[in-house]
């Protein structure tokens, strides 16, 4: 095996993975910070502002604290499952980032293309869905292995919630796939050169946003960990590093959902209403940098929307939540899918 092929198959992906992991972990930590600050502003208070300038070092301090805390395993717990459950939660959340293209590919001198994605898989979005569907195991196993009733309740709720909302979520994504005609995320982004899908697929976008909030267990759908009912839900018994895993996994999922929504509905790294070809005339590095910035801005705006929801709404009840999933979102998603299929078949021939 030559050095070059080694680099192509092992080296570059590894470097990309390491960079991505670092960046994602950083983003996730600061998502927590942004959320706390924004909630502070929403609620007419300050939020974390003591550690470092504007409290910017707060996430690091929190992380250190959690690492140094005692790792408690309850007497009733099943130790093996209890230990591995957080891994089930955090791995899918991070693996999902592998297929997201954050910026237009960087084209250097001799036509060598460096895509800003770990692996632009052929079935990208399907891969993403199947990987994130494994995240529920982290929650279910945590609830089961804790040997306590509140986590059990939390994980039961979580399992049914995630299963219920995965279906409308998948259906709304399907309509995007129908429009783009490909499972590949970069193809989907390219298909939105002229118009972000959020506008023609407004129904699907709505369904996606609501289901995504439910999939990531956030208010108003945060029943699995609804603190006023189930204390901490599935992670009630966790402490220290293992709790931090769940915490990180939740926020990694939030960031992932923001990135996916940006790619699927908001046009990814494309600047809306600006033809992409005009940009290509500029310097390639500039194009990539601009694309990255655009992607970031869109994702952060979506994140802002997320936090805004959290500051505003009360929590749904378990049965109401399931009813919304099955009776409202699912029919809307199906209707939308039929509409899109019909349009695609007869109008856009």
């Amino acid at each position: 095996m030559t050095f070059e092929s080694l680099m192509t198959y092992v080296g570059w992906p590894l470097i990309k993975i390491v960079i991505l992991l670092g960046v994602v972990a950083f983003c996730v930590a600061y998502t927590v910070y942004i959320e706390r600050r924004l909630l502070g502003f929403f609620q007419s208070r300050v939020g974390p502002n003591r550690v470092g300038p504007f409290g910017l070092i707060q996430p690091i301090a929190d992380g250190l604290k959690l690492i140094l805390k005692e790792d408690i395993i309850p007497a009733n717990a099943q130790p093996f499952l209890f230990r591995i459950a957080p891994i089930f939660a955090i791995v899918p959340a991070f693996v999902g980032f592998a297929i997201i293209s954050f910026a237009p590919p960087l084209v250097t001198g001799a036509g060598v293309v460096h895509p800003f994605v770990v692996k632009d898989v052929n079935l990208g979005i399907l891969f993403l869905l199947s990987i994130t569907s494994l995240g529920v195991f982290g929650i279910v196993l945590a609830g089961w292995s804790s040997g306590s009733k509140y986590p059990l309740f939390g994980s039961l709720r979580s399992a049914s919630q995630m299963l219920s909302y995965e279906i409308p979520l998948t259906l709304s994504v399907l309509s995007v796939i129908l429009m783009a005609g490909s499972f590949r995320l970069s193809d989907i982004v390219d298909a939105q050169s002229k118009l972000p899908f959020a506008i023609p697929l407004i129904l699907a976008f709505g369904v996606y946003v609501i289901s995504a909030v439910a999939e990531t267990n956030r208010i108003p759908f945060d029943l699995p960990e609804g603190e006023s009912e189930l204390v901490g839900g599935f992670h009630t018994e966790y402490s220290g590093m293992r709790f931090a895993f769940y915490f990180l996994a939740e926020y990694a999922n939030v960031v992932l959902v923001c990135c996916v929504a940006t790619s699927l509905f908001l046009g990814g790294y494309k600047i809306p209403f600006v033809p992409y070809e005009t940009l290509l005339a500029a310097h390639p590095i500039l194009v990539s940098a601009l694309g990255l910035a655009v992607f970031g801005v869109k994702a952060v705006l979506f994140l802002y929307f997320y936090i805004w929801i959290r500051a505003t709404f009360p929590r749904y009840r378990y049965d109401q939540l399931l009813r919304i999933g099955w009776m409202v979102l699912l029919p809307i998603a199906l209707l939308n899918l039929f509409l899109v299929a019909g349009i695609k078949l007869w109008l856009l021939r």
Partner: protein, 382 residues
């Protein structure tokens, strides 16, 4: 068909595995939604509540015993510790009881000052309740907004009587000090501001579909049931029963003021919520009238012995506390210490209504119902 299957399974372990049983869930005493150290043992069939047993007493401090060893004057601050978010009302109840027993005529100006402080305390209590109730149902922002407004009231208390939470506001016979300079203006500023803030909360909650879904038709208790269970205050009025001590058994000049008693219709969580929100607006009306019509005069009755020694006998006196009818049953033996003092604490008795409200509902509704009762465990356990 199913029963046949079950019978076919016989007495094997498999059959045992197929049987469904209820699950016992220990709700509290350390739980974010119990507002203190209240414990409920829930019997659950899935997420549905089939039984509830309330276990209280974790905060029992033996106040009723303690009072028997204190002089009447020294006992006053102890009652602030009952309902520590509505302390002034407790204080008013106690001094009112002694005044009734001794037939002390409280000067008019003192009565009006008491009305002002009482209603401010009621608003402060309802604001805190609103915030915690909303937080129980997941709307966290309202809590901080409510605390922000409550803070202003606390500052007013501090300026008036020197304390924020447990004020020991009234001596037996009247009030200690008049309003400090500028206090009235500050109070009026707050009164002008609050209606807009209340509108804001109602935009966040009353007009929110999710809030309505979580509260409408939940924990329904009919008026007759509520009266039989002895519920009082907004909890009772939410079921449409007209009973407000300020109107029905007037005390402390409340008959001078023109205000309405908001009533609910269905007796659900939403009605109890909306009654309290409207009550805050009515409290503002009373405040306005009391400040406008503040009479001049002394703050304490002229002839009042320094040692309080009521005649032997018994008395029952109640005020409209923030949570409901707050009654004091006091027995005097003619000495300077009470022979017995029993507090009819509204939280304690309202909590009895919880079983009626939650059985048949879901776990999440238990939280909504506990919130809608507005209990303070200091008052439940005494």
């Amino acid at each position: 068909m199913t029963t046949e299957l079950r019978e076919a399974a016989g007495t094997s372990p498999l059959r045992k595995a197929l049987e469904t049983t209820t699950m016992e869930l220990n709700f509290g005493p350390q739980h974010p939604a119990t507002h203190g150290v209240y414990r409920a043992v829930l019997q659950l069939d899935g997420e549905r509540v089939v039984g509830i047993e309330s276990i209280i007493g974790y905060l029992h401090r033996g106040i009723e015993k303690w009072v028997e060893y204190r002089t009447y004057t020294k006992a006053t601050p102890i009652f602030d510790r009952l309902d520590y978010v509505g302390a002034i009302l407790n204080c008013h109840g106690y001094v009112g009881t002694v005044e009734k027993l001794m037939k002390i005529e409280v000067p008019k100006r003192a009565q009006y000052i008491r009305v002002v402080l009482d209603e401010l305390q009621r608003i402060a209590n309802h604001l805190l309740w609103l915030g915690t109730h909303a937080l129980d149902l997941g709307a966290m922002t309202v809590l901080f907004y409510g605390l922000r407004e409550r803070e202003v009231i606390m500052d007013l208390f501090e300026a008036m009587v020197g304390q924020r939470l447990l004020q020991n506001a009234y001596p037996i016979g009247g009030v200690r000090l008049d309003f400090p300079r500028g206090w009235e203006r500050a109070c009026r500023n707050f009164m002008a501001e609050l209606p807009h803030r209340l509108d804001e909360y109602e935009t966040l909650l009353s007009s929110n579909r999710m809030w309505l879904q979580r509260t409408k038709g939940i924990g329904v208790i009919s008026g007759a049931e509520a009266v039989a269970l002895g519920l009082s205050g907004p909890t009772l009025r939410g079921s449409g029963v007209y009973f407000d001590v300020r109107k029905c058994i007037p005390y402390g000049s409340y008959e001078d003021f023109d205000f309405e008693v908001p009533l609910g219709e269905n007796g659900d969580v939403y009605d109890r919520y909306i009654v309290r929100v409207r009550e805050m607006r009515q409290s503002l009306r009373i405040l306005q009238q009391a400040l406008d019509g503040m009479p001049e005069g002394p703050l304490m009755p002229e002839k009042l012995s320094k040692i309080i020694r009521p005649p032997a006998g018994e008395v029952y006196f109640s005020v409209e506390g923030a949570k409901g009818q707050l009654g004091y049953y006091l027995v005097s033996d003619g000495t300077d210490k009470p022979w017995k003092c029993h507090v009819r604490s509204p939280s304690f008795i309202n909590l009895q209504g919880l079983e009626k409200m939650v059985v048949g509902g879901l776990v999440a509704d238990v939280v909504a119902n506990i919130g809608s009762l507005d209990i303070v465990l200091g008052e439940v356990d005494r």
